[in-house]
Structures are given as structure tokens and as C-alpha cells.
Amino acid sequence: MSTNDVAPIAARAAAVRSALIEQGAMAADALDPIIHWGAEEWKPENGARVVAKAWTDPEFKARLLADATPACAELGYHGPQGEYIVALEDTPSMHNVIVCTQCSCTAWPVLGLPPDWYKSPEYRARVVREPRRVLHELGLDLDPAVSVRVWETSAETRYMVIPMRPEGTEGWTEEQLAELVTREALIGTALATPAS
């Protein structure tokens, strides 16, 4: 494709928005609440709170692993791309990691919109084929004895990883524990680690 005469992407986006508004197909502020949800409400801090509660409340954890959708909704996390959430529990013998090879599906209500690296062709192509090498490159070295399950988000299930609770966090509050869980830990490319 010749790219010289292509309009700048910002101009293309503005063209679509202005055309819809001027034609009366869309109110001038119609996108504002959507963008607000994407930028502010759907965020990994939500999933971190789910994980912290699972670490501290065995009954909640049982409900979460049995059916994560209502369990997340208990904490107020539900909505688009969260219609059917499944929680994947890491164990000493099994590490879980999430990808969407064909587009970039993610559980928005608990993970937030996916980060650029998760949406990259490089991650999408490689993690299903060489997960240990990818994780190593991203800074996570797994013991070869630990099995790896890569979860491909090919249908409507939206996954979240429940990483293992770090040692040395006995007695921490849910709020303190939630601080240990990044978006990358919820995807499975990082562990939950105490600030060193």
C-alpha cells in the first residue's frame, strides 16, 4: 500500500466522529462515557482486588474458582468483555498465561483494556509456541519442572490469572496484598511479588 497520501490517523478518527455527529447519527458527547469506562473504570486494580480477596477469604476463593463471573460481580466488576470470566489458579506445579492470538480479547472489567505489548503481533504469535522463552524474555524464569498452560482467548470466555500469594505476606491486609498484583500478573507474564 502506498502510504504517502494516506491521511494521518488522527485526522481519520476525527473524520469518522465528525461525520457521525454532523449527520445526526451520534450525539456529540456519545463516546465520552465509553471512553471514560475504558480509560478509568476497567483497570487491573479491579482484578488485583479480586486476587487479594481470594488470597484472604477461602470461601470467596472457592466461589471465584467455581464461577468467576458472579464472584467478580460481588465486588462490582462486570460488564462488556466480562460476560463469562474464568479464574485460573497458579500452583507450585502449574503456571498460567493468557493470550488472544487472533485479536486481543481481554476481561476488561477485571484486567482493563489490554496493554500494547499484549496486542502486539510478536506476543500473539510467539507465546503459544514458545511460552517459556517468551516469559524468560519478559523477565519471568520458570522452573522447568513447572508446567505451563497458555490460555488462548478464542471464544467468549475471558480469563484472569490468580497468581500465587508471595511468601512473607502473612497478616497483610487486602489493600496491601492488592498492591502486589499488576496487570501483567493477572495476564501471567509476571508473578505477584512484594516490593523489594
Binding site: A14, L20, W42, T157
Partner: protein
């Protein structure tokens, strides 16, 4: 479609630009693209997430790989809005002050010859095989697992069948299954003994198999 978007397992991709960030959008046009992607649910009759995903898949490969995720989003959504007569392509190019490349057309006869499966045919623990089919239209069976055997880990609820839903067909619902494949099954001698890939697959994509 056997498209370049179906990236799982493809070789030749280099290092991942891994920069954990917290903000969802880096530039305003990305917000607009995202807003339009969700907003198009209201703007388009018969809109489905499957038709939207397929609109992105139909982008020219040279365009698909050259641009940021949200340019793909904007291109796909705008293609649907133009194809459905909501917007006019020439008007958009005039407004944008330059070319506005859209995705390519939907293929003729986009559907594979799959038998609809409204009942749950498989259960946890069953061995299944993914059909080796190659429709021209939208499908969510990644190419890397077609023709491969796996084991059902979990039965998920029924969801609309994307291959028909993307093409204005029946919104029939089918169960999906979390099917675990060994890396050796998928990648042959390049696989590792304790690596697994779990793919979420609609009932129609599968047939029974024996371990």
C-alpha cells in the same frame, strides 16, 4: 479465513516491546477509535462482535502489520459503517484530507460446511479433534489447532456461533469447550513435555476422537 491475523505459532516475529504501562490510551485518536468500536453497537443494525472482528481481519496484510492496534480498530469499524451505508467513504476522505484505507470485502461463500450443534456433545475429559476446515469467512478456530487432538478441560456456556454471526447468519448458540492440547501435538518435535495450550472452541469445530 486463513488470514495473517491468525498469528498463533507463526515464526519470524521478534522481541516483544514489553513496557507495562497503566494508561489505556496514549493519544486522543485511540480513545476515539475505542469509543467508536463500542459505539458502533448502537450505530449499526445487526451488529455483532464477530462482524467487527472480521472487519479487522479483512484489512490488507501490509496495512494490518504496519499500524497500531487502534488503527486496526478504527479501520475495521469504519469499514462496517461504510459497508452498512451509515458513512460515505468519499466524504470521510474529504474530511480527513487524504486517503482513508478500509478493509477488503467479505469473501463470496464465506461459511464452512459445518453441522450446527445446538446440544452439548462433549464433556470434561473427552478427547476431541478439531476439524481441518478452511472457510473464506470469519472463524475462531485458530489454524494452529486445526486437525489436532486435545482433551476437554471445561464446558463453557453456549455463545453465538461466530462463523455465522459474523456474516449476518443465524445467531445460534453453541457450547464452547476449553480444549487442552499438548505442545508436542501442536508443534511436533519443537514442543516441550509439560507445555500446554488451551483453546476455547465451539462445538461445531470439533469431532469426537480417541486418545
Amino acid at each position: 479465513m486463513d488470514g495473517v491475523h491468525d498469528l498463533g505459532g507463526m515464526h519470524g516475529f521478534g522481541p516483544i516491546n514489553y513496557r507495562p504501562t497503566t494508561e489505556a490510551f496514549h493519544e486522543e485518536w485511540q480513545e476515539t477509535a475505542f469509543g467508536l468500536m463500542l459505539g458502533s453497537v448502537i450505530l449499526l443494525q445487526n451488529h455483532t462482535p464477530d462482524a467487527y472482528r472480521h472487519s479487522v481481519e479483512r484489512m490488507a496484510p501490509s496495512h494490518y502489520f504496519a499500524v497500531h492496534y487502534y488503527e486496526r480498530v478504527l479501520t475495521g469499524v469504519t469499514t462496517l459503517l461504510v459497508e452498512n451505508g451509515v458513512l460515505d467513504h468519499a466524504d470521510l476522505e474529504r474530511r480527513a484530507g487524504g486517503r482513508f484505507p478500509l478493509a477488503g470485502p467479505v469473501a463470496d461463500k464465506p461459511l464452512a460446511d459445518l453441522t450446527p450443534q445446538s446440544e452439548q456433545r462433549f464433556n470434561k475429559g473427552d478427547v476431541v479433534k478439531v476439524k481441518d476446515f478452511h472457510p473464506k469467512g470469519h472463524t475462531r478456530a485458530p489454524r494452529f489447532c486445526r486437525g489436532k487432538q486435545g482433551r476437554v478441560l471445561h464446558v463453557a456456556p453456549p455463545f453465538p456461533f461466530p462463523d455465522t454471526s459474523a456474516h449476518g447468519g443465524a445467531q445460534r448458540e453453541e457450547h464452547t469447550y476449553h480444549v487442552e492440547f499438548t505442545a508436542r501435538e501442536l508443534w511436533g518435535d519443537n514442543g516441550t513435555d509439560n507445555d500446554f495450550v488451551v483453546v476455547d472452541l465451539w462445538d461445531s469445530y470439533l469431532e469426537g476422537a480417541t486418545a
